[in-house]
């Protein structure tokens, strides 16, 4: 239990991903599927940020020392910048995917005047 409280961000990650996965797979409404997709991706972004975070960490940039030189930062003290950079890319990918998904949903609505998966299947088989 203490372990869970200490790592509550991972608990939230799991909850977010479950909500996202459930609405991607089980929801009938196409827009809700898109929302689920966004929530799932948010969960993953939070996961990556969590594994790179550290308590009282320094920012990973070089600072000028008193001898006017740029020494390498102490790796043990700075936060891992790589996870944040990766997630910048993942956010861009996520936005692009969501955009394409919503554009497709709009096209489907114009074709079948419905967002409901069952109703669309009914109209397709007619």
């Amino acid at each position: 239990m203490e372990n869970l409280i200490a790592n509550f961000n991972y608990v939230i990650v799991v909850i977010l991903m479950m909500i996202g996965l459930w609405s991607m797979l089980a929801q009938k409404n196409l827009i809700k599927k898109c929302i689920g997709m966004a929530i799932f991706q948010t969960g993953i972004i939070l996961f990556f940020i969590s594994i790179g975070a550290k308590d009282n960490a320094l920012i990973p940039i070089l600072t000028e020392a008193s001898d006017h030189k740029y020494h390498d930062p102490d790796v043990a003290k700075v936060a891992n910048p790589l996870t944040q950079i990766l997630m910048l890319t993942a956010i861009v990918v996520g936005v692009a995917t969501l955009g394409v998904g919503l554009a497709l949903a709009q096209k489907i609505y114009r074709e079948y005047s419905s967002f409901d998966e069952d109703e669309i299947l009914n109209k397709q088989t007619k």
Partner: protein, 501 residues
């Protein structure tokens, strides 16, 4: 100059995509030649790399010269061309080039006025696929995966009507796969602290039995399986490839799933190791079971279809089972068969969809009932079609025979009999479908050679489509005849050294 070859492979189609979108703005006709130029550049570089790799071994290339820095490990992104991926690189760029030549007429009629969007997406898709194949960085692989996936959603949605729903389902499944893959990468990164494939393969064995590493492996596999449409994730594939425009299916069906199989092979063999696979027998038996079911399900569903495109799409589902099963046999003939079949199946599926595209172009549809007399109308196309089907069934000396030979050998050696039976069932089903098509195409019309019967005019597909189709069908024999040099000089060296013969 030659040390810059690896980057040229992906730069060609990437610049081709940009210039096709921009150039097409001013001069709509310029988009096709611009894409062709990019693909030629990529193909020449990939072909040169095959010989370089066969002669001197793996080529490593640091993007922007950002190599590893002492004390910090890897700084930049690495791209790698080694024995595992060099053949697939040449196959992807070669098939893309032939398909680009082939689709000219199709796109002009099917997507008139939107050629430049199509070719920009086409080239971007090829960039993504080549990127997945060439990269040596597992996060970079995710980015290229999504580049390829986003352009393929758009390509499928060009089919209109039912294609929108098919593309949407593909988008949901594809995004789920990519997200699971990314999550797995997170686990691997958290434990190893690096994304470079070579570095991870050094660090992972030192971690011992780690739960996080195992979970990462399972998640990456699930993601790759969703992307490659292995049973039970195959639901999106048949509709997506059937309702997409013929030109889109011709590039998507042969390459998109095969490259995902390669990604799985790369993760299995280079990032993790064969020993790791053999030490996780539960995943191995699940994977073998799923691939057997995929082969059987794909085969039986293809029997019940009436649309030629849908039959071919279910073939893709069953062929995925071949490769995944071969890879998870985890012995020498099995892995050889899987690696060989990735290239061979890309060529076979490409030839099949090209021939179906020719038929659909001339007849205006691809239903089985509409094929009456097609052997008299389009003799050359149907010759290529029958030839390709023979390769898919596994008639020597085509490449389909050799991949089945290796796969069955591997399955027998590992004692996985259900996989052997599935392979034989799949061959049988393909033979049945070929005979059914021959029956409809030949026999359901009065034979024109008999006196008094009406003559059937020959109405072949345009030469621009016919020549790539025939070339690809002949290529199947060429790959088959070149089996022993390909396997001995390249594929055998991609196998891990620890593998028992």
């Amino acid at each position: 100059m030659t040390d810059q070859l690896p980057i040229l492979v992906i730069l060609g189609p990437l610049l081709g995509a940009v210039f096709a979108a921009l150039g097409g703005w001013f001069r709509p006709k310029s988009s096709h030649p611009l894409v062709i130029i990019g693909l030629v550049l990529s193909f020449v570089a990939a072909l040169k790399l095959v010989f370089t790799v066969a002669d001197t071994g793996a080529q490593k290339y640091w993007l922007g010269g950002w190599g590893s820095k002492p004390g910090y490990g890897v700084v930049g992104i690495q791209i790698t061309v080694d024995h595992l991926n060099t053949l697939l690189l040449a196959a992807v760029s070669g098939i893309a080039l032939l398909t680009a030549l082939y689709t000219k007429r199709l796109v002009d009629t099917e997507l008139a006025g939107r050629q430049r969007y199509f070719y920009a997406l086409f080239s971007l898709l090829v960039t993504g696929l080549l990127g997945i194949t060439i990269t040596g960085d597992i996060f970079n692989l995710y980015v290229f995966m999504e580049i390829a996936a986003l352009s393929s959603y758009a390509l499928i949605a060009y089919g209109k009507g039912r294609a929108y729903m098919a593309a949407f389902n593909y988008l949901i499944m594809g995004t789920m796969g990519a997200c699971l893959y990314l999550l797995g990468v997170g686990f691997v990164f958290a434990k190893s602290g690096t994304l470079n494939v070579d570095d991870i393969s050094i660090i992972l064995p030192t971690l011992g039995q780690s739960q996080a590493v195992f979970v990462g492996f399972a998640l990456i596999l699930l993601g790759a399986w969703a992307k490659m449409a292995l049973f039970p994730f195959h639901g999106w594939l048949p509709n997506a490839y059937t309702y997409s425009p013929t030109a889109g299916a011709a590039i998507l069906a042969p390459l998109a799933t095969k490259v995902a199989v390669y990604a799985m092979l790369r993760i299995m063999l280079t990032v993790y190791s064969v020993d790791y696979i053999l030490n996780s027998p539960s995943i191995q038996s699940i994977a073998l079971g799923l691939s057997t079911i995929a082969i059987v399900v794909g085969s039986f569903f293809s029997l019940s279809q009436t649309n030629l495109k849908k039959i071919a799409s279910y073939f893709v589902v069953s062929e995925i089972g071949y490769m995944v099963g071969g890879a998870w046999l985890a012995n020498k003939p099995g892995l050889t068969g899987a690696m060989y079949h990735v290239v061979a199946d890309a060529a076979m599926t490409s030839a099949l969809f090209m021939a179906i595209g020719c038929i659909a172009y001339r007849l205006g549809q691809s239903k089985l009932d509409g094929l009456k007399g097609v052997f008299f109308k389009m003799p050359v196309t149907m010759a290529a079609f029958v030839f390709t089907m023979a390769a898919l069934i596994g008639v020597p000396p085509t490449c389909g025979f050799f991949s089945k030979w290796y796969l069955i050998q591997g399955a027998v050696q590992a004692g996985v009999w259900h996989f052997v039976i599935a392979l034989l069932i799949s061959s049988l089903v393909k033979a049945i479908i070929l005979f059914r098509i021959v029956e409809i195409g030949y026999n359901r019309v009065p034979h024109p050679a008999v006196d008094g019967n009406p003559a059937i005019p020959c109405n072949e597909a345009p030469l621009g489509m016919l020549i790539p189709t025939v070339a690809m069908a002949l290529g199947l024999v060429a790959i088959g005849l070149a089996t022993s040099p390909l396997v001995n000089t390249i594929i055998a060296k991609a196998l891990p050294a620890t593998l028992t013969p």
